[in-house]
């Protein structure tokens, strides 16, 4: 694997160039929220943020996405798909969020049915990750196979060390990008920074306050769908607001509907949806297979720690801690995992 170095003083220059040459998506501050948006240059980009409030999943699965537009009069029908996608750089994604994109891949690029909307964006996007420099009290990526400086899934991973960024070149796509801006990405001092990064990773790995351990949890769930545990507090507390799924970088559920734009024209949209809404599974006849919060909570957390694993051999949670942080009634996946471990002792 190759590596490079960027002087902090040159990062603005890099971002300005990227914004010129690509559709650049980067973290920004919007009112009180940190989120990812298209930026026009370095001045908009927030570099010292911890974890964004909203993950960059929208880069590949936009919150609202037009899949085609139609012109329909009854007797005539025309369907037009949107133009091709622009080449994009996703800058500043955190390791957990990049890992989350990897959990999307088998869903959208499955063997049976592809998803051109997703794949086109995925193909034409270079992911420049940014190692975390701090561990938050809600973080537990280490327990889900990740880490604050883990570059898995990124094309380039930047790690801030002193007045420099250490750059790991992880893919050909990443290599092409550093080559294209070779006046910014130098090789000088990379060896020392590699060691410094190791040190940083080691230091950060000792800073997690949440003790989470998945071993044995899936095994309990495998044989026990009807655990009395699911009737407990969580089901009573949840208000079904859908915040957890909205902020979750691995939640990929969507709804599909039409949005008329005129008498005969309209757009077919797909929009994020939430399994925590009762209507999500409600059928026309009134039957609902997941009628209460108990079933919905169970489904969401089973999806994260069992179903996604069963289906795609990947845990469906990356430990970003967003749902822990944002749930208005403090429903906490790390507590659920730990509770289930306890339950496991008694079944």
């Amino acid at each position: 694997m190759e590596s490079r170095v960027v002087n902090k003083g040159q990062i603005s220059e890099l971002l300005d160039k990227l914004a010129k040459d690509y559709n650049l998506i980067a973290p920004i501050k919007e009112e009180t929220m940190t989120l990812f948006r298209r930026v026009s240059g370095a001045q908009d980009v927030l570099l010292d943020y911890n974890n964004s409030d909203i993950s960059p999943k929208g880069c590949f699965l936009p919150q609202n996405e037009k899949t085609f537009s139609y012109m329909y009069t009854g007797d005539t029908l025309e369907i037009n798909k949107p133009e091709g996608v622009q080449k994009t750089v996703l800058f500043g994604a955190r390791p957990c969020d990049i890992k989350a994109i990897l959990t999307f891949d088998p869903v959208f690029e499955g063997v049976k049915f592809g998803d051109e909307y997703y794949s086109n964006k995925r193909k034409s996007t270079v992911i420049i990750g940014l190692s975390c420099s701090k561990v938050l009290s809600t973080c537990f990526c280490y327990a889900m196979g990740g880490g604050p400086c883990d570059g898995t899934g990124s094309d380039l991973l930047l790690t801030e060390i002193g007045d420099k960024y250490y750059v790991e070149v992880n893919t050909e796509k990443g290599k092409a990008l550093v080559d294209a801006y070779s006046q910014i990405f130098s090789s000088q001092g990379a060896e020392q920074l590699a060691k410094d990064k190791e040190e940083l990773a080691k230091k950060l790995s000792g800073e997690f306050v949440r003790k989470v351990d998945l071993t044995g949890v899936k095994e309990v769930l495998d044989g026990n769908f009807e655990l009395p545990y699911w009737d407990g507090d969580n089901a009573k507390k949840c208000i079904g607001c859908g915040t957890c799924t909205y902020v979750c970088p691995t939640c990929h559920c969507f709804d599909i509907f039409d949005y008329p734009t005129g008498d005969f024209t309209g757009d077919r949209l797909r929009c994020w949806d939430s399994c925590m809404f009762p209507e999500y599974t409600l059928e026309a006849g009134g039957h609902n297979p997941r009628p209460t919060r108990k079933e919905r909570i169970r489904n969401r957390f089973m999806h994260k720690i069992k179903y996604h694993l069963d289906r795609y051999n990947m845990v469906g949670c990356v430990g970003c801690g967003r749902c822990v942080n944002k749930c208005p009634v403090n429903i906490d996946i790390t507590k659920i995992i730990n509770d289930l471990k306890e339950v496991a002792q008694n079944v």
């Binding site: 899949t67 085609f68 139609y70 329909y72 009854g74 007797d75 005539t76 029908l77 369907i79 798909k81 869903v107 959208f108 499955g110 063997v111 049976k112 049915f113 592809g114 998803d115 051109e116 909307y117 794949s119 769908f225 990929h252 559920c253 969507f254 709804d255 599909i256 509907f257 039409d258 008329p260 309209g266 077919r268 797909r270 949806d273 399994c275 999500y280 599974t281 409600l282 059928e283 026309a284 006849g285 039957h287 297979p289 997941r290 079933e295 489904n299 089973m302 999806h303 069992k306 179903y307 996604h308 069963d310 289906r311």
Partner: protein, 280 residues
């Protein structure tokens, strides 16, 4: 076959509309592009997503068998917004169709066996594709006796009346049993609910597969009857209806445990269902 344009429907034209009941119509539909029609490759038991532009999409079973020709039939019950829009459509109008989706019936492994179909209400639609497949000239000799026990709420609610009364009984080695829930003037057939009628007809489990489709309550009371008659769990096949949006295993909502019913189902044997969480 991987279809990269999976979310985009193909334009199709309604060529025929049959009124089945006050709330149910069967639409015959043909793709505008003959090549798509030719290569659609639908199997009995599969479904499509129908688009009514302006309303969105609904999952509807393909009720016709591919053996009947290069067209698709959809039997649609008017229950909500989209299905109401479909019901207002006329011959010659366009809809969007994408598919075919789902695993379909295991019609290959059913070969050499007798088939006993049980349908309740509008659920005759999904099993009709297999009935017509097994009764087609091409494949009739591959299957043994084909029996159909169908229950509807009232005479008006009986779907595919001419299939039940004329077309199917005329075919060699078939048995048709139709019942309605309550006595009605002009009805000379059986009266009563499906489960008890199955008990009365008492099909023998020997070399037979039961294909059961209907509202959850009917399924719930019918399955024990088959068990009592000696049917094993892998001799009972059913088809599920979970709410669906994408039919591609991506939008998430149709899951039962780690299975997505739109791609792993909707057809399951009772043996398979018993391995799955009871959340449907």
């Amino acid at each position: 076959m991987s279809n990269p344009t999976a979310l985009t429907p193909y334009p199709a034209t309604i060529t025929k509309i049959d009124v089945e009941a006050s709330d149910t119509k069967t639409f015959t539909v043909v793709f505008d592009d003959p090549e798509i029609m030719e290569n659609f490759g639908n199997q009995p038991g599969q479904v499509c997503m129908l688009s009514a532009f302006g309303e969105g999409e609904s999952t509807i079973s393909i009720t016709s068998s591919p053996t009947r020709g290069k067209f698709l039939e959809f039997c649609v019950r008017r229950v909500g917004r989209l299905t109401s829009v479909l019901h207002q459509m006329e011959v010659g109008q366009k809809i969007g169709v994408r598919g075919p989706y789902g695993n379909g019936f295991p019609y290959e492994t059913m070969k050499g066996k007798d088939l006993f179909f049980v349908g309740g209400g509008s659920a005759l639609a999904p099993i009709r594709s297999l009935i017509d497949y097994a009764l087609s000239e091409q494949y009739r000799s591959d299957y043994g006796k084909v029996e159909i026990l169908y229950g509807a709420r009232s005479m008006d609610d009986i779907l595919f009346k001419s299939d039940l009364a004329e077309r199917w009984p005329k075919i060699h080695n078939t048995g048709i049993y139709t019942t309605i829930d309550r006595e009605e003037e002009g009805w000379k057939g059986h009266v009563g609910f499906v489960p008890s009628y199955v008990e009365e007809v008492a099909p023998s489990p020997e070399n037979k597969i039961a294909i059961v489709a209907g509202p959850p309550i009917m399924i719930k009371f019918t399955l024990p009857v088959f068990a009592k008659l000696g049917f094993k769990d892998d001799q009972i096949i059913t088809t599920l209806e979970m709410r669906m949006k994408c039919c591609l295993g991506k939008c998430g909502r149709c899951n039962i445990g780690s299975k997505f019913i739109c791609v792993d189902g909707p057809v399951f044997s009772l043996a398979q269902l018993k391995q799955m969480p009871q959340e449907y």
